[in-house]
């Protein structure tokens, strides 16, 4: 038996790799992810930000777009990070690298990246005049609640992409996989496309579903007015009924009486969605699911990387 000599443990190795990633953030142009994320967030916010958190329709559309932007940013952060250095990792594994340390270092590094992107997104929201609820659901500040949600959505997507990057062997495969993942998130979010049966169950596996639920709760969706019915009636206002335009007359009457806002709120009250209720339980459970997904993705990444030695040379 040889003399048992201890080498750097998992925690120490995490420190080594975190330092490496942070240095490479500066040298390797990873910082470019920040302005890129900012541009994406800006496009989304400037298009849908006007009605975000104002009306139910605007909130749903805006939140959906914001969630998509967050997922996009998260995917882009890490989809190539592992597979592009797979051979290096394999060699380092041979030299004593613990895969859990490597993935944990990536998790911390990616969290910092996502945090920076979240701050940028919030600044852009503020510049674009998005009226974020001042009162939070979990914390006393709405901005903080929204920030935590955006961070968790981006980070969970980031971890999902990290998992994919750990499973696939080439950057080409990773980049080919990414659009499918994104489409899956969009289609099965349950926010816009009506899902039924088995498809309706799949939505519980998507980041977008839990992200939308969380943001709609924080945005107090159920307390917002609904404009869709009013707009539809306006669209039919010139409908001629035996020489009369009853809808137009009714609309004018409602406006004159100052009942419009009451009508919109009444519509909103009848369009409430239970999972969008602004309760601490709702928001915390959404955050909890996203965190759970993050852990599952990270574990899957570690397991996938443990098999890196099986790669053919």
């Amino acid at each position: 038996m040889t003399e048992q000599i201890r080498h750097k443990g998992r925690l120490a190795q995490t420190g080594i790799y975190l330092g490496k990633f942070l240095r490479m953030f500066v040298y390797q142009n990873d910082w470019k992810l920040l302005p890129m994320g900012a541009v994406i967030a800006a496009i989304v916010v400037f298009v849908v930000g006007g009605t975000l958190f104002q009306y139910q329709e605007g909130t749903k559309l805006g939140v959906f777009a914001l969630v998509c932007a967050c997922i996009w940013n998260g995917f882009f952060n890490s989809i190539q990070v592992v597979c592009r250095e797979r051979e290096i990792i394999k060699h380092e594994h041979r030299s004593g690298l613990h895969m859990s340390s490597y993935v944990f270092a990536q998790m911390i590094y990616q969290l910092l990246l996502c945090l920076a992107q979240t701050v940028i997104t919030l600044i852009i929201c503020s510049i674009a005049g998005v009226r974020i609820p001042s009162l939070g659901v979990v914390t006393p500040w709405g901005l903080l609640d929204v920030g935590i949600s955006i961070l968790l959505i981006t980070y969970t997507a980031d971890m999902m992409a990290l998992m994919v990057s750990s499973i696939v062997r080439t950057t080409t495969t990773a980049m080919t996989t990414m659009p499918f993942l994104l489409i899956f998130q969009l289609v099965f979010s349950g926010g816009f496309f009506t899902l039924s049966g088995f498809a309706n169950k799949i939505k519980y596996l998507t980041i977008s579903h839990w992200g939308m639920d969380g943001l709609c709760s924080i945005g107090r969706y159920n307390e917002q007015p609904m404009v869709a019915v009013w707009n539809m009636i306006v669209g039919f206002k010139d409908l001629d009924v035996f020489g009369y335009t009853p809808l137009k007359d009714a609309l004018i009457y409602v406006e004159e009486q100052g009942w419009r806002d009451y009508f919109l709120e009444w519509c909103g009250q009848h369009n409430q969605v239970p999972q969008y209720a602004a309760t601490v339980e709702n928001v915390l459970s959404n955050w909890g699911v996203l965190l759970l997904m993050t852990v599952v993705f990270a574990l899957a990444a570690v397991i996938a990387l443990e098999f890196v030695d099986r790669d053919k040379r």
């Binding site: 038996m1 040889t2 003399e3 048992q4 000599i5 201890r6 080498h7 750097k8 443990g9 120490a12 190795q13 080594i16 330092g19 490496k20 240095r23 490479m24 040298y27 390797q28 250095e85 051979e87 290096i88 060699h91 380092e92 041979r94 030299s95 004593g96 690298l97 049966g197 088995f198 030695d309 040379r313």
Partner: protein, 453 residues
């Protein structure tokens, strides 16, 4: 009645197609001297056998599996899309069929090549596969030409019988230095055992710079991976008396392996790259000051101190190789293995690197180097290992001794000529591998200690 006639007609057509295909294949197997000709009549198995007979085993087996799976899936879905499950099955089937067509095409193209036929026959094949098989099978004009060189992974299914080769093993492991006693290194592929290396036994003393020579596919990297315990073989490998395989978790820190590629992150500084490698590889008991000192020592030895703060990606090929070496050397390994450290480097830089390796060996370490251009630095080496592929394409030991002894043994002046003498004729060599393997085995067995020197 009409429906019954339709079914009967469909069955007849299927049966006729099956009979014609099988008969044609049976004849083809005969021409290919395939022993299990009956396989031509078993669906699934026959395409696997055809693939194997034209040395595309992997494609053949996958085709066979896909044929069976598609039959089963087709049977259960009954060819109709009635619900989401059958829709999913149909999509899976579609993907499967595309793969099946691609693999089948590969096999057919290879078969055409084996029979010296033009590729345009593939067009006929797509529509009437049985017809082409019948033409090849019954046509006297079509006879198999020499089969192409098999894929590497197909090598070594039957090692050549070399008298006395197994006698090299009966010796105790050396207490000092590296002791290699490899019985065989095999790999499984689709349940079949492939021999990659066989009967390699040698002792390398401390402080030796050893050259590992061999033609392409001789098993140099496989041997190196087996020695360092990364890909274990049926062997006993000891380093200074400690068993590498049994205590791999600790022994791996005593072994440095520099791969052929420069595996490092370009966007980090040279100093940090080497320092991180040191932190990962050195024992935890080593203090920061000791580590920094060791890093500096290695950087100085390899001439990397000047550009230490520069980014790795900005360095030249020679510098990158030296960084690779530094990353492994920094842990002070007892055994140091390098796979083509001079790859892509000019003579001056290569000589410089090998001089550094000589200095490393002189510190009491064992350094094993694989290189394809040995003659420009052969004067620096203490020992030469020559690997050669026998007729069964299994890597074996053809020689182990000093460079001068190698010249005498092979009757050649240069190491490149030595390699050519053991390379197969297809590789442009003299094809004398088995002669030298046998001769060396006899010499080694006759010499006390196993190795001839």
């Amino acid at each position: 009645m009409a429906a019954f006639t339709d079914i009967l007609s469909s069955v007849y057509t299927e049966l006729l197609d099956f009979l014609l295909f099988s008969l044609g294949l049976w004849m083809v197997f005969g021409k290919l001297k395939w022993k299990q000709r009956w396989m031509a009549w078993v669906p699934g198995l026959r395409i696997a056998a055809l693939g194997r007979s034209v040395q595309l085993t992997r494609e053949g087996i996958l085709c066979g599996i896909m044929e069976v799976v598609s039959f089963v899936v087709g049977y259960f879905s009954k060819g109709e899309i009635t619900d989401r499950f059958t829709l999913f099955l149909s999509l899976a089937m579609l993907v499967l069929l595309v793969l099946l067509v691609v693999y089948r095409l590969r096999i057919y193209v290879r078969l055409l090549r084996v029979f010296g036929m033009k590729k345009r026959w593939i067009l006929v094949w797509i529509f009437f596969d049985w017809l082409v098989l019948m033409i090849i099978g019954f046509g006297k004009k079509f006879q198999p030409v020499e089969l192409p060189e098999p894929e590497d992974w197909e090598a070594g299914t039957a090692p050549a019988e070399i008298s006395g080769a197994e006698n090299v093993h009966f010796r105790p492991a050396a207490e000092s230095g590296l002791s290699v006693d490899l019985f065989e290194r095999t790999a499984k592929d689709f349940g079949k055992t492939h021999y990659l290396l066989k009967d390699i036994s040698l002792d390398i003393p401390k402080g030796s710079l050893v050259l590992l020579l061999g033609g392409s596919g001789a098993g140099k990297t496989t041997l190196v991976n087996a020695i360092i315990g990364y890909e274990k073989a049926k062997a006993r490998m000891t380093l200074n008396g400690a068993d590498i395989y049994k205590d791999y978790a600790h022994m791996k820190y005593k072994i440095g392996f520099v791969p052929q590629k420069n595996l490092m992150r370009g966007n980090d500084t040279v100093l940090q790259t080497v320092d991180d490698a040191a932190e990962l590889r050195l024992p935890s008991a080593v203090s920061t000051a000791e580590r920094k000192s060791r890093v500096q020592e290695v950087m100085d030895l390899l001439g990397l101190s000047a550009g230490a703060s520069g980014l790795v990606c900005k360095k030249s090929g020679g510098q990158l190789r030296r960084i690779s070496i530094a990353m492994e050397l920094v842990s002070d390994p007892e055994l140091f293995v390098l796979d083509e450290p001079d790859s892509g480097l000019d003579g001056v830089i290569a000589r410089e690197i090998f001089s550094k390796l000589r200095a490393i060996a002189d510190e009491g370490r064992i350094v094993i180097v694989i290189t394809h251009t040995p003659d420009r630095v052969i004067d620096l080496f203490d020992k030469v290992i020559v690997l050669a592929r026998d007729s069964g394409r299994v890597g074996r030991l053809a020689f182990y001794g000093s460079p001068q002894e190698a010249r005498d043994f092979f009757g050649k002046e240069t190491m490149e000529d030595v390699v050519m003498s053991v390379n197969s004729k297809e590789q442009g060599g003299e094809g004398l591998a088995e002669h030298y393997i046998e001769r060396y085995a006899a010499l080694a067995a006759a010499t006390e200690g196993g190795a001839a020197t």
